[in-house]
């Protein structure tokens, strides 16, 4: 990557803070109205645990993951925490090539699926994350560059968020609502997409 790992985490924290009320509003519609608060508390905690001079990507991701686990408070804590911890394991390689980033993305996805035991179509962050990974991997595996991979991933994630409006939640708090969850987009799929978008923007600028 072209910039410090800190700048990426900072970009994520900024986007979460900007969208805090929006995410909480989405969670108010189909959950317990805390997703924005949870995510903001988490990212505002982790940003104090890293700094601009950190160069060890794996170590930073590990501190971010552990920080989220102990400060988010909701289901997104262990889920996002696992995402960063699994990516951290793969990032131990000295050179973070675009193939390594693809493998980090895959490990993160597998980790979240294993932690939450959700599959696609259950109205969770998986509905944004899995198509995003697939779009990302398709570009990398066909010899494309990181910019294109990120752009396609964001697009796929956004479509995933739209898709969550059409389905019933069967995991998490929203599952208590049954059919009444239709018509609302999933907060976790939304936060994931915002985070991915912040990565793309930071990479571009």
């Amino acid at each position: 990557m072209n910039k410090s790992i800190y700048s990426y985490i900072k970009a994520m924290a900024d986007t979460i803070n900007e969208n805090k009320d929006f995410l909480t509003q989405l969670d108010a519609e189909i959950g317990d109205a805390d997703h924005g608060t949870n995510m903001a508390r988490g990212f505002n905690t982790v940003i104090t645990k890293i700094n601009e001079n950190d160069t060890d990507v794996s170590d930073v991701l590990k501190r971010v993951g552990m920080g989220l686990v102990s400060s988010v408070g909701g289901a997104s804590g262990p889920l996002y925490g696992t995402m960063f911890l699994k990516a951290s394991n793969v990032a131990k390689e000295a050179d973070i090539t675009q193939e390594v980033i693809m493998n980090m993305f895959k490990a993160a996805l597998d980790g979240v699926k294993e932690r939450g035991k959700a599959t696609r179509g259950e109205k969770t962050m998986i509905d944004a994350m899995e198509p995003a990974y697939e779009a990302f991997a398709e570009v990398i595996n066909s010899g494309g560059n990181l910019m294109q991979a990120l752009e396609n991933a964001v697009k796929a994630a956004e479509e995933g968020v739209e898709y969550t409006k059409t389905i019933i939640a069967t995991k998490g708090r929203a599952s208590y609502l049954g059919e009444r969850s239709i018509g609302h987009q999933d907060p976790g799929a939304t936060s994931f997409t915002l985070i991915l978008k912040s990565v793309l923007e930071n990479y571009k600028n």
Partner: protein, 134 residues
Amino acid sequence: MVGIVIVSHSNKISDGIVDMCREMAGKDQIIISAGGMEDGSIGTDAVRIANAIENADTGDGVLVLADLGSAILSTEMAMDILNDNSINIEIKIADAPIVEGAIASSIEAYLGGNLESCLKKAEEAKNFIKLNKK
């Protein structure tokens, strides 16, 4: 002695459950409340739960009673954290209603039951009949 850990989103709930269990299981039975967040907010915290599990273990294992949603996810995360730090504790999460399960299993632990029997008592609480409807 099997240790019991109570994981709720609310520390008032987990503290209250511990108080209720103490009435029957005595003051020496290990029952630890790991509810809510460090700062008192509603939520669950895997690190806090991992610490509680470590403190509850005397070598005979720990039974966790959890409420819902992330209480389970965070407890599973706590188990992974302990494992990653090479802390070997036998841990079971009970598939049981948190209050009834906590009371049934803490009495069993107090009477000298092992982890398996405490788990069984907790899970039997699922079928506990409260109302005799005619």
